[in-house]
């Protein structure tokens, strides 16, 4: 029997108590909110850490507690939290959990219990990570890449407890991500409703689906490196640790390969960029199509581009290692693959622009964020072409040019999509709209602010300002103008950081006091906007699952007055709509 029919006939296990409804919930929507709120909470901590770092760079010595150790600890935690615990968790655990079942017409994830466990493991990972702020020596300060031998050698902040907690937390996170990923992939493969073919799925689902597959294959590399480094640290093995003299003492390690760690780390690390980017690509495609009232341009191409990017992202990892001393021929190979991956990526950008072409563009807050994403991703992507070339990368390596590049392409750009996505789907989650004025204010400060922060960093990088330095004063090669620019960046960074409170306030206020949104405030065609209740109740669809007759992008269909056709409208119903529209037009002509 087909899955959808079975899902219809089975009794739903309604949660009875407050505990099973909101805490130990197995409902994908509640788990999505749990994931999102936790991720946003740790994200705010990471924003505070970046503010502390910027204070030290812009106004050296202004914070008494900000010594070199504290700076490196803040930097490490900022990077790791943003990449793993905010972006990965929010896109897959938050958006993935909420949107996949609703967009494919399922009642829930296929393994709800495992889904619940996934969140609680994620929360445990976060608790373990944050607990490192309170242990002797504090969190690790080895940089978010955790390169050995430095990360587990005396002299690095957090070498006793911090690094162990970081590695354990990562291992727990990977277990959580695996449980989540298995759910997302299996749900997409198995639980789609009647008529929801793979090529009728919204691009959001495609992006999250592909990113989940990549996460399942790439996270084991981080797990392997974390376990092996834990062995080196706790049991004295020499997987990664070479013979080394530390503080005048010969350590017991010998023969280990730090480069091996780098290969393992980046075999995870580069796909990780796309684990964050692909869901962003998918979500932004849906935002652009909905708010430009145009079908997405080149849907099939967009899907194949997502798949191509996913596959190619596994063969580009060593472009992060051009200066590691690896075989030069490797550099040539990885430069070529890196440039090839620009092709499907550029294709997506073209298709977004062509979707906008002659569209009925509504400059709503989600659309503003989506448009800002395209521009930001383009800038970040173009500097990626510079850094992908070995000969350009070598002089720019470890400068602020790199900092600017990756913040633009995988920091700001995905975060803009996160915001756009939240403004777009918040009405479905709560039944209320976020405040528009606050939203626009938040958008302009964030968008212009992040440009003011990261654009100048390209110039600082060209000037040779190295990254990862705790203090930049008293270096002859760093001119005074760079110091002034640093002070400017810090002021803007603090402003942008504080302005995020607008967003937090808007979320809290609008949840209870926001304008009622109705079921489909944006006039969107995809399935999640066609639920019988808003917010959707447990089981999502009432007695009958929806039947899908078309793709998710039927906007501004010629001959139809309503400028969108929901996925649930059949050909006969569409014909009726067409006749009705013709009748209305004829009546208009008469009057």
């Amino acid at each position: 029997m087909a899955y959808a029919e079975q899902a219809e006939t089975e009794a739903l296990h309604e949660p009875k108590s407050f505990l099973t409804k909101y805490i130990w919930s197995q409902d994908h929507k509640v788990i999505a909110v749990q994931y999102s709120l936790t991720a946003l909470f740790v994200g705010l901590i990471a924003v505070v850490l970046s503010g502390l770092m910027r204070m030290q760079i812009g106004f050296p010595g202004s914070l008494a507690f900000m010594d070199a150790s504290a700076y490196y600890q803040a930097m490490t935690m900022h990077g790791m939290i943003m990449v793993i615990y905010l972006l990965t968790a929010l896109f897959l655990g938050g958006f993935g959990n909420y949107l996949i079942p609703l967009m494919v017409g399922a009642r829930d994830m296929v393994f709800p219990y495992v889904n619940m466990l996934s969140y609680w493991f994620y929360l445990l990972a976060v608790v373990v990570l944050l607990s490192s702020f309170f242990v002797p020596g504090g969190p690790t300060g080895s940089g978010w890449t955790l390169y050995p031998p430095q990360s587990i050698t005396q002299g690095t902040p957090g070498v006793e407890w911090g690094i162990v907690l970081m590695l354990v937390s990562l291992a727990i996170f990977i277990v959580a991500a695996t449980m989540g990923g298995l759910n997302y992939v299996t749900t997409v493969l198995q639980a789609r409703t009647h008529g929801m073919t793979l090529f009728r799925m919204p691009l959001s689902v495609w992006g999250i689906f592909m990113a989940s597959i990549m996460a399942l294959l790439a996270f084991p590399a981080l797990f392997v490196s974390a376990v092996m480094m834990l062995f080196d640290k706790l049991l004295g093995t020499s997987f990664f640790m070479p013979a080394i003299i530390s503080l005048g003492q010969q350590l017991d390690h010998q023969g280990g390969s730090p480069i091996l760690f780098q290969h393992l780390f980046w075999f995870f690390g580069h796909p990780e960029v796309y684990i964050v980017a692909l869901p962003a690509f998918g979500l932004v495609s849906d935002l652009i199509s909905t708010h430009a009232r145009k079908n997405i341009f080149g849907y099939r191409m967009m899907v194949w581009a997502i798949i191509a990017i996913g596959v190619l992202s596994f063969v580009v990892w060593a472009h992060h290692m051009y200066v590691s001393g690896m075989n030069p021929y490797f550099g040539f190979f990885f430069a070529v693959t890196t440039l090839i991956i620009a092709v499907p990526t550029a294709l997506k950008v073209y298709n977004w622009v062509l979707t906008l072409w002659h569209g009925d563009i509504h400059l709503t807050v989600p659309m503003l964020f989506a448009l800002a994403f395209i521009v930001t991703f383009l800038v970040g992507g173009l500097t990626g072409l510079f850094l992908g070339n070995v000969i350009v990368d070598i002089p720019l390596s470890d400068t602020y040019f790199v900092v600017a590049h990756f913040h633009m392409v995988m920091g700001v750009a995905p975060v803009l999509v996160v915001f756009g996505g939240i403004y777009h789907w918040f009405p479905k989650v709560t039944g209320r709209l976020l405040n528009d004025t606050l939203g626009k204010l938040h958008f302009w400060i964030t968008f212009l602010g992040t440009y003011a922060i990261f654009f100048p960093m390209h110039y600082l990088g060209f000037q040779g300002m190295p990254r990862r330095y705790y203090a930049y004063d008293n270096y002859a090669f760093i001119p005074q103008s760079a110091q002034e620019l640093n002070a400017f960046i810090t002021v803007v960074a603090l402003t942008v950081g504080v302005s995020q409170l607008l967003f937090v306030f808007n979320l809290a206020w609008s949840t209870f006091k926001g304008k009622p949104a109705g079921g489909n405030p944006w006039g969107a065609a995809s399935l999640e906007w066609q639920t019988p209740n808003t917010p959707p109740i447990h089981g999502n669809w009432g007695a009958k699952l929806p039947v899908v007759h078309r793709w998710a992008y039927d906007y501004s269909v010629p001959g139809i007055e309503q400028d969108f056709v929901p996925q649930t409208i059949s050909a006969e119903e569409l014909e009726q709509m067409r006749q009705l529209s013709a009748g209305t037009r004829a009546a208009d002509v008469k009057t």
Partner: protein
């Protein structure tokens, strides 16, 4: 070309080649719910494969460093790995018993299913005990986890494999408890089936690990060359 592109993008032509409902390449009706758990398990096995593939690649890369002392040298613990052969036999018997239980469950023979399933789990426990015994032998011979990278990888790989089997035994134990609670067979046959698939995979994985752990340095070198790690 550009005009055609923009005309398509315009949406002016509802039949424009790039703007149609792409329909689908796969019918959504084909999905069978009974397959869902199996698909989930198989996906999980892909993840485990990725994990062990990377562990093995790391061990081959590390083996090419000069300080690697092979465990298969004369007088080293794996020069004659008879204990590992015994353990392997336990795991093979475990898989046979589970496969028998799986086939009996399909034919709705309750007693045979229970016997096969329980015996399968007991042999798996024997395998784990045997692996632990090998570890003790290593320690008794002075082959500690940190004394050489070859030892480190031996403990690591057998340990992670054992942990996966232990995880399987948790699922096995839960199913046995449900048998004891007289849950009807049709509700349990899926669990028996999943356990059998998982066990067979872990046997296959163990054969690969066994082969690699008892390989000569020349084999390691050949694989390393093949992978471009040398």
């Amino acid at each position: 070309m550009n005009r055609l592109l923009l005309k398509n993008a315009d949406g002016a032509d509802p039949n424009g080649s790039w703007s149609r409902d792409p329909e689908g390449i796969q019918s959504a009706e084909g999905a069978n719910r009974n397959q869902t758990a199996k698909i989930g398990l198989r996906l999980f096995l892909v993840v485990v494969s990725s994990l062990f593939f990377l562990f093995l690649l790391a061990s081959i890369a590390r083996s090419q460093m000069s300080d690697w002392l092979p465990l298969t040298e004369p007088l080293a613990p794996l020069a004659n790995p008879w204990q590992l052969w015994v353990n392997s036999a336990f795991l093979v018997l475990s898989c046979i018993a589970l496969q028998w239980a799986r086939m009996a469950a399909r034919q709705a023979r309750l007693n045979a299913t229970v016997i096969g399933f329980v015996v399968g789990g007991v042999f798996a426990i024997a395998f784990l005990a045997g692996q632990f015994w090998v570890w003790q032998q290593f320690v008794a011979w002075g082959y500690f986890v940190a004394s050489n990278p070859a030892n480190s990888f031996f403990y690591l790989l057998t340990g992670v494999h054992g942990l996966h089997l232990l995880g399987g035994l948790v699922a096995w134990g839960r199913t046995v408890a449900r048998f004891l609670n007289r849950v009807p067979l049709p509700q349990l046959s899926a669990s028996v089936e999943l356990c059998a698939i998982y066990w067979h995979y872990l046997l296959g994985l163990w054969i690969v690990l066994f082969a690699l752990l008892t390989s000569t340095p020349q084999t390691y070198e050949a694989i390393a060359r093949l992978c471009g790690l040398r």
